[in-house]
């Protein structure tokens, strides 16, 4: 939902002048109504700007962008189902690419103390690492590091930012 205004903007820019008035009208109506994004996607060449910048050059080996981070609930380092899906994908990539090593960075939202969050971030990184090891990845290929709440991905002070900041983040090394 947070991307909606940006997507609408892209859509507006990409649409011919003939349709501009109609799109602008949609943009004006869109923010309060959840169904807006699908409408936008039909008129936009790429689903998101980030994937657009990565797709043009195919690379033989994996990049950090091939990995999906594992996200966590508040105060928790238990792996959610979506985190397991992300880690299954990561385990397959790592099994297929024996020369790739990763660091898993544990991160937390701001609703904890500095020191507790450093420990919680480590728990998250370790939980993700242990899952990869159980899925057949050598432990030597996965380092862990916790930043606690010191390196947030989203700077906002709301649930959507907090959800972004509770993660085990893949970094290639």
């Amino acid at each position: 939902m947070r991307r909606t205004p940006a997507l609408l903007f892209v859509a507006t820019m990409a649409t011919a002048a003939l349709f501009a008035a109609g799109c602008a009208k949609k943009a004006a109506e869109a923010p309060p109504t959840p169904p807006a994004p699908p409408v936008v996607q039909t008129t936009t060449p790429e689903p998101t700007p980030s994937s657009a910048s990565e797709t043009p050059v195919p690379v033989p080996t994996v990049t950090a962008g091939d990995f999906t981070d594992a996200f966590f609930d508040l105060d928790s380092y238990a792996l959610r189902d979506d985190a397991k899906v992300a880690l299954d994908l990561a385990a397959k990539l790592l099994r297929d690419q024996a020369d790739v090593n990763v660091t898993l960075e544990g991160h937390c939202d701001e609703r904890g103390t500095v020191e507790y969050n450093q420990a919680l971030g480590e728990k998250r990184a370790n939980a993700a690492r242990d899952y990869l090891v159980n899925a057949g990845v050598s432990a030597a290929r996965v380092q862990t590091l916790s930043y606690g709440k010191e390196r947030p991905f989203a700077e906002g002070h709301d649930e959507s930012s907090w959800a972004q900041n509770r993660r085990a983040h893949f970094v290639l090394r």
């Binding site: 103390t113 507790y116 420990a119 930043y147 390196r151």
Partner: protein, 435 residues
């Protein structure tokens, strides 16, 4: 709240050679009640050479110190206020000659204007602030039986973009200077008990955070613990021989005690849960810490060998950041709210938890060495800044960090050991002022 009253017997010399008269002064030091009304008169100053403080500057430093002590209600003569309803008057004179400052400080009762305290302080011009702070601390000592904290310092973490550097400053904000310039993340400073060193955790080496120590006067950093995994939340023991900290070298965050150089790790906790934020009792016999072994984080206490673990906090939800008062009777901690954290204080056995500061997020409480104040970081007025609570229900006071966004304060030990300027006793009729 129970009010503590200290009865002071002040020996007052009416005129030199006269028989000492005894007078009783009652001062409420922990109640939130009455403060002694003190009228600050400007110091008389002769011609001041270059490099000396402007006389008004010294007047303000003293008045601010006395105000911040929470012992006095201060009025300033130079603001044009009349000495209405005051109980004592401070003043004196400056002399500056050949690079040396002499401060003759005096406190008199009012309206009789008999001398309560009279002391002469000498030092170099560069130390003039220390002389004024010393006078302020002696005034507090005279009225309460305990020295003030005007000469103490505050270490804190300054937020600089995405980086955090360790800084130190005088309690009144003067002399602020960085101790790290790593463009990294420094966290969790802890003073050594004699005030010469600061231990802290930092990401400066890349990878996991490590423990370093830096001289409080500035200088080279040296590593104390670079074990694999977390090296965080250092806390010097009261005798300075050991550092309690959090390490995860064995796979999970646990509390350890290292010797002061970082060697001979002794593990105190053994649980699959998170254990962190150790904090010593002033006796050095017990350690409070945070653990989520029962679910959400709570504060626990254990003996210094790791035995006899008991939970301290029950009445409020998510609690963390224990800080044991230097008097030993209270533990401060934080409790999570929808807005962040509130500040609480409870007895050392966990009883009588009471809310001390709320509004915004109030984090990382640390006691003043006299146990009268708590310093903490808060976003109650905007970006994170440092505040002091006198535990008396009055609004917290913001510290001057020169506009820097500041977090994780740590209050230096008491000042007698960290200031070099030594006062010269001249005509103090009642040295020490103790009852």
């Amino acid at each position: 709240m129970k009010r503590l009253a200290v009865v002071l017997l002040l020996a007052v010399l009416a005129v030199p050679g006269a028989r000492a008269q005894t007078r009783e002064v009652r001062i409420d030091i922990a109640g939130g009640g009455r403060r002694t009304q003190l009228y600050c008169e400007a110091f008389a100053a002769g011609r001041l050479p270059a490099g000396a403080p402007a006389a008004r500057q010294a007047d303000e430093v003293l008045a601010n110190d006395l105000e911040q002590s929470s012992v006095f209600l201060v009025s300033r003569a130079w603001s044009g206020q009349p000495p209405f309803d005051v109980q004592a008057v401070s003043g004196g004179r400056w002399k500056v000659a050949s690079g040396q400052v002499t401060l003759e400080g005096e406190v008199r009762d009012f309206p009789a204007r008999r001398s309560i305290l009279s002391k002469v302080y000498r030092g170099s011009i560069a130390d003039w602030r220390a002389l004024v702070h010393q006078f302020a601390d002696d005034i507090v000592l005279q009225f309460t039986g305990e020295s003030g904290v005007a000469r103490t310092r505050i270490a804190f973490i300054a937020v600089e973009g995405r980086n955090k550097e360790l800084w130190v400053m005088d309690l009144d904000g003067a002399g602020a200077r960085p101790l790290t310039r790593d463009r990294s993340i420094a966290l969790s400073p802890s003073w050594s008990p004699e005030g010469s060193l600061l231990a802290f955790s930092t990401y400066r080496d890349g990878g996991s955070p490590r423990l370093y120590v830096v001289p409080a006067a500035g200088g080279k950093l040296y590593p104390v613990s670079a074990r694999s995994g977390l090296n965080t939340s250092p806390a010097y023991s009261p005798d300075g021989r050991e550092i309690a900290c959090t390490l995860s070298k064995d796979g999970n965050s646990e509390i350890y005690v290292l010797d002061a150089r970082g060697g001979s790790p002794r593990r105190l906790t053994d649980s699959r849960a998170i254990d962190t934020s150790p904090c010593w009792a002033p006796t050095g016999r017990e350690i409070a810490f945070t653990s989520d072994r029962s679910g959400l984080p709570q504060v626990y206490v254990m003996d210094r060998d790791g035995g006899n673990v008991r939970r301290l906090t029950f009445e409020v939800g998510y609690t963390d950041s224990p800080a044991w008062s230097p008097r030993g009777d209270l533990v401060a901690f934080v409790s999570r709210t929808p807005a962040g954290f509130d500040l609480y204080v409870c007895a050392a056995d966990g009883a009588n938890a009471r809310l001390v500061v709320s509004g915004g997020s109030n984090e990382n409480p640390r006691w003043s060495p006299d146990g009268r104040h708590l310093v903490f970081a808060s976003n109650r007025e905007g970006p994170y800044a440092l505040f002091i609570s006198d535990l008396d229900g009055r609004p917290p006071r913001k510290l001057d960090t020169g506009g820097r966004t500041a977090m994780s304060p740590s209050w230096s030990p008491s000042a007698s050991r960290i200031v070099t300027a030594v006062p010269t006793n001249a005509s103090n009729s009642n040295p020490g002022g103790r009852p």
